[in-house]
C-alpha cells in the first residue's frame, strides 16, 4: 500500500453508515473509493451538493455539476443541491457528521493549521475554517512528515484553522487521537514501529501499553 492508500483506507473505516461526510480536495477526496456504496454514506461538497457521486462518463459532464475543486462530478440517486447559505447551514448547524481535511500541522492541543503559509501560500481558507470549527467530527488525513520534517508538533507555528481540538489524525504512520491530556497514539501503520513514529513526531505522544496495528476494510 502506498502512504496515501494507507491513510485513505484507514480513514474510510471511520465513516459510519448513513452519515453526512465532507471530504476535502486532494488526498481526502480519494477516500470515497474505499467506501461501500451500500453503507448509505452521503458525501457533501460545500459548493452545494449533498450526495456527490463519482466522475461522470467522458462526454457526459455537466458544467453545472462540479465539486468544490471545480471538477466534474455526478449526483447519486437521492442527491440534493443547495445554495451556499444552506450548504454552510448544514456544516455550521452541526448537521455534518465528519469532515476529512488535509493538514500542514497539528499540535499537542489538537489544533490544526492547514490554510496558509504566511508570505508563501495565501490561497484563502475557503470552507476549511467553517468545516473545522463546526463539523461534529474533524479528521485530519495527512502524511506524517513533510520532506522529513514532523508535521505533528508541540505548538503550531502556522496560523490555526480553528481553535477547536480535532477528533482524529490519520497519517501514513499512525492514528493519533487528540485528547484533553494530549496526543494519544492509538494505532501503528503496517510495519511502523512505535519508536519510528515517535522519532517522526516532534510533539509529545502519550503511548498506551498496547498500540495495535491499523486494521483496514476489505
Amino acid at each position: 500500500m502506498s502512504p496515501e492508500e494507507i491513510i485513505q483506507r484507514r480513514v474510510a473505516r471511520e465513516l459510519r453508515p448513513g452519515t453526512l461526510v465532507n471530504l476535502g480536495i486532494g488526498l481526502p477526496t480519494g477516500i470515497a473509493r474505499y467506501i461501500d456504496p451500500d453503507l448509505g454514506i452521503l458525501f457533501q461538497s460545500e459548493n452545494g451538493i449533498v450526495g456527490m457521486g463519482s466522475r461522470p462518463p467522458e462526454g457526459m459532464e455537466d458544467e453545472e455539476l462540479t465539486d468544490a475543486g471545480g471538477s466534474f462530478i455526478t449526483a447519486v440517486p437521492g442527491a440534493a443541491t443547495v445554495d451556499s447559505t444552506l450548504s454552510f447551514g448544514l456544516i455550521r448547524g452541526g448537521h455534518l457528521d465528519v469532515t476529512v481535511l488535509g493538514g500542514l500541522e497539528v499540535d499537542e492541543k489538537g489544533h490544526l493549521a492547514n490554510w496558509v503559509v504566511p508570505g508563501k501560500m495565501v490561497p484563502g481558507m475557503g470552507g476549511a475554517m467553517d468545516l473545522v470549527a463546526c463539523a461534529r467530527r474533524v479528521i485530519v488525513a495527512m502524511q506524517h512528515t513533510a520532506k522529513g520534517r514532523p508535521k505533528i508538533v508541540p505548538t503550531c507555528t502556522l496560523p490555526l484553522t480553528a481553535n477547536r481540538r480535532v477528533t482524529l489524525v490519520v497519517t501514513d504512520l499512525a492514528v493519533i487521537e487528540p485528547t484533553e491530556d494530549g496526543l494519544v497514539l492509538r494505532e501503528r501503520a503496517p510495519r511502523a514501529a512505535v519508536e519510528e513514529i515517535v522519532a517522526a513526531t516532534s510533539a509529545k505522544l502519550i503511548i498506551p501499553d498496547d498500540v495495535p496495528e491499523m486494521v483496514f476494510l476489505d
Binding site: 447559505t85 490561497p123 481558507m125 470552507g127
Partner: protein, 221 residues
C-alpha cells in the same frame, strides 16, 4: 415585466470603481457574458465580492487578467495565481473571509440584519479587527453585512417578470447575492414566459431582480 438588456448595456451601467457581487464558484455559475462585457468595456478599480476569483482568464479571472479589479472580498484565491500575484505586488487588495461567513454576511446585507454571530474563525488571524461578542460565557465573532451596488448573477431559468431558478451546483452564491445588490442583473440560460415557472419552483422572486440579460442569437426565429 423586466427589461432584457445586452451584456454591453449591463457593463455600461457599471461605473469604474463600483462595488460588485458576482455569483459563481470557480467560474461555475458565474455570469460569463456580463464578465466578458465588463472586460470589453475596460472597467477599472472594481471591488468584487465573490466566493473566489475563478481560474486564470476564466470566470472572475477574466477581470483579474484585465486589471479591472482593485479589491477582492473572497473566501479563496488559491485557484488563480494571478490574483495572488496581484496581491503580493500590491495591485489588488484581498480580504479573505471564511466561505460560510461570506455567505452569511451577504445574506445579512440582503435581509436587513445588522450582523450574525459565528464561531468560524474565532481566535484565528481571520478574526483580526472583528468584534467578539460574549453570550453566556461563550465567545462569538460578529460578522457584519455586505452589500453591493450591483449583483451580477447567473441562473438557469428566468421568466419575463424576473423570477429565477438555479441548477445544481451552479446555484452557489447566486440566490443570496440577488438579495444584496442595489441593482440586480441576472444572466439566465433561458428566459421563459410567465407561468412556465410554478410559484413553488421560484428560488428568487422577480421583485429582487432589476434586469435580465437578453438571449444570445438564436438559430431559429
Amino acid at each position: 415585466m423586466k427589461q432584457a438588456i445586452s451584456p454591453q448595456q449591463a457593463a455600461e451601467m457599471v461605473p469604474d470603481g463600483a462595488v460588485l457581487m458576482i455569483g459563481g464558484f470557480m467560474g461555475v455559475g458565474s455570469p460569463h457574458r456580463i464578465i466578458d462585457a465588463l472586460v470589453a468595456a475596460g472597467r477599472k478599480n472594481l471591488t468584487v465580492i465573490a466566493n473566489d476569483t475563478g481560474k486564470p482568464d476564466f470566470g472572475i479571472g477574466r477581470l483579474i487578467r484585465a486589471n479591472a479589479i482593485a479589491k477582492v472580498v473572497a473566501s479563496h484565491i488559491g485557484t488563480n495565481p494571478e490574483t495572488q500575484k496581484g496581491m503580493i505586488e500590491g495591485r489588488i487588495d484581498v480580504d479573505l473571509v471564511p466561505q460560510g461567513t461570506l455567505a452569511e454576511r451577504i445574506r445579512a446585507g440582503g435581509y436587513g440584519l445588522g450582523g450574525v454571530l459565528t464561531r468560524t474563525g474565532l481566535n484565528t488571524i481571520a478574526a483580526k479587527g472583528q468584534r467578539v461578542i460574549e453570550i453566556d460565557g461563550e465567545d462569538w465573532l460578529l460578522a457584519t453585512p455586505l452589500k453591493a451596488e450591483f449583483a451580477l448573477i447567473h441562473c438557469d431559468r428566468a421568466d419575463f417578470v424576473g423570477n429565477l431558478t438555479y441548477e445544481l451546483t451552479a446555484t452557489n452564491f447566486n440566490p443570496v447575492m440577488a438579495t444584496a445588490g442595489a441593482t440586480v442583473i441576472a444572466e439566465s440560460r433561458e428566459i421563459v414566459p410567465v407561468g412556465l415557472i410554478s410559484p413553488d419552483n421560484v428560488n428568487t422572486p422577480g421583485v429582487l431582480v432589476d434586469y435580465l440579460i437578453r438571449r444570445e442569437a438564436h438559430r431559429v426565429a
